[in-house]
Amino acid sequence: MFAQHLPVLPIILPLMAAPLCILLGRSHLAWLLATLVSALSFVISVDVLLTTLEQGVLSYAIGGWQPPWGIEIRIDTASAMILSAVTGISTLVLVYAKESIAKEVDPSQHTLFYTAHLLCLTGLSGILSTGDAFNLFVFLEISSLATYTLVSLGSDKRCLTAAFRYLVMGTIGATFILIGVGMLYMKTGTLNMIDLADRIAEFNGNRTLKTGLAFILVGVSIKLALFPLHMWLPPAYTHAPSAVSAFLASTATKVAVYVMVRFIFTIYGAEFVFHTMSMDILLLALAIVAIFKCSFMATVQSNVKTVLAYSSVAQIGYMILGISLVSSVGLMAGLLHIFNHALMKGALFMAVGAVLLRTGSVDIKAFQGLGKQMPLTMAAFTIAGLSIIGVPLTAGFVSKWYLVTAALEQQQWVIAMLVLLGSLLAIIYIGRILEAAYFKEPSELTAGKDIKEAPMLMLVPMWVLVIANIYFGIDTSLTLSAADTAAQLLTQSMTEIEAAQ
């Protein structure tokens, strides 16, 4: 009986679990409920992913009203793939959070933490599955509001200014998207994405539509921290509790990249965006600058969480680079990197959270000599770090590999070289930490304390992510087929361009 209602469940389950957590009151029950609901959503989204691989697009009319009048839940392979990643990582982070927030968030707020986490999950899964442009704005606001709350739960006072800056820039971004959607509605009279796509195709280069696209792209770039608009991300991820950084780093910005892909490829159609508006050159330039400047900034930081935050902005540069290559292989590489980066960054932030729990500091000096004292955590950190660099047998290598092939396919030698050069920078900032961990004696920060291994509840999710990293590095069948069908689906209208090229 529930088979045809599956697409809507990943949204309403966390939505109903959040108020239940408040009614339950005690944080243990809230944690149990949150983890169960998140795991259930993960199972459902994997099942939805498998059905989309066979049937293509799943459509579900909310309220029984047909799409252009009512709101439609529209899940295709791309959204199902990222939805599975988001719900999976949310489950692992919730398991991880039980121990991690015990020290970083004061006990009276644990229930509120789980409620805000569930609301953020609702918002993200809502963005991924809705087929209505304004509904996307509403779910974007739900996830953003929950994120500001989560970031401001940190123990360090600087998390407050970071949360405030994130709030102001996030709201400006959301209002820009609102202006863009308003202009779209003004010219086409509808809000459903597929309907919008058909009606926009009739206008060739209307000034209002161009401005609408520009505003939406700027708004979404603020949300995904593309290079010039990324200033809110490093302080937010550094001063937020590590469970929150782990969850946000691997999901929030990735969902914003999905929104950009949805607007560029589904609604406006790639050839309008990339040829008449020549957006590909702009995105390409910003992506490359993002990769190099932020990787360089990562190498000079002393706080390991800031290093990872800057590395996230750099990795987003890779995704945008994949998208701006205007080819189905490039888009596939971008989608693949979204999935793989979620695994890598989640594991890295969890490892750093474990170090913070045991040594009380995330400075690079605290990492000295941890190779021996916290072997399992540092091993997880090493493998995930290698995956960021793109060493073979890891998921990072797969996405880097397809990025380079996509670039070479279009004879863009320079871009291929730049992607490899970017990995060199990654070697430097990951290497610095590994060198401190394995080849240096414990510094004065950690000399006195005897540092035990991280608790089991934190090690298990960390290692699940690391194993997933390696598994998807070797057997790429599932992720590759999902990304490929998604790319084909999104770039149907692109085929004439390739023919024309």
Binding site: E141, L167, T171, I172, L178, G182, Y185
Partner: protein, 118 residues
């Protein structure tokens, strides 16, 4: 002349948006930033509502003897957006209160010397 009469609503709304946007960026006091944010959002709502207006139409509540109505859809969208705006303002003001308690000041230039803004 008719070109101006048909578009004056949009131009004044754009002017208001830019005033709000300027206050958000240039304001040094955090409370004033939030006031600017509100002005910016309210002017975006006005753009939406002026899309929905039909000349000679009346409010979209069915009453006998009235045929042309204004478009109800922008009104629904803006009802949602207003509540979203107030929710963001409430969280923003709560953050300002906490920042005042933690830093002792709400002036943005006085943060920089207190901690290293990355």
């Amino acid at each position: 002349m008719s070109f101006i009469v048909d578009h004056y609503n949009y131009w004044i709304v754009v002017l208001l948006m830019m005033m709000g946007f300027y206050v958000v960026i240039a304001a040094n006091n955090l409370v004033k930033k939030i006031v600017g944010l509100n002005i910016f959002q309210t002017s975006v709502f006005m753009m939406y509502i002026s899309i929905g207006k039909v000349n000679g139409g009346s409010a979209p509540i069915a009453a006998e003897g009235i045929t042309t109505y204004s478009n109800p859809l922008p009104h629904v969208l803006i009802l949602t957006a207003i509540v979203v705006g107030v929710a963001t303002t409430a969280v923003g003001l709560a953050l300002v209160v906490r920042i005042k308690r933690a830093y002792g000041t709400v002036e943005e230039n006085e943060f920089e010397d207190k901690e290293d803004l990355i």
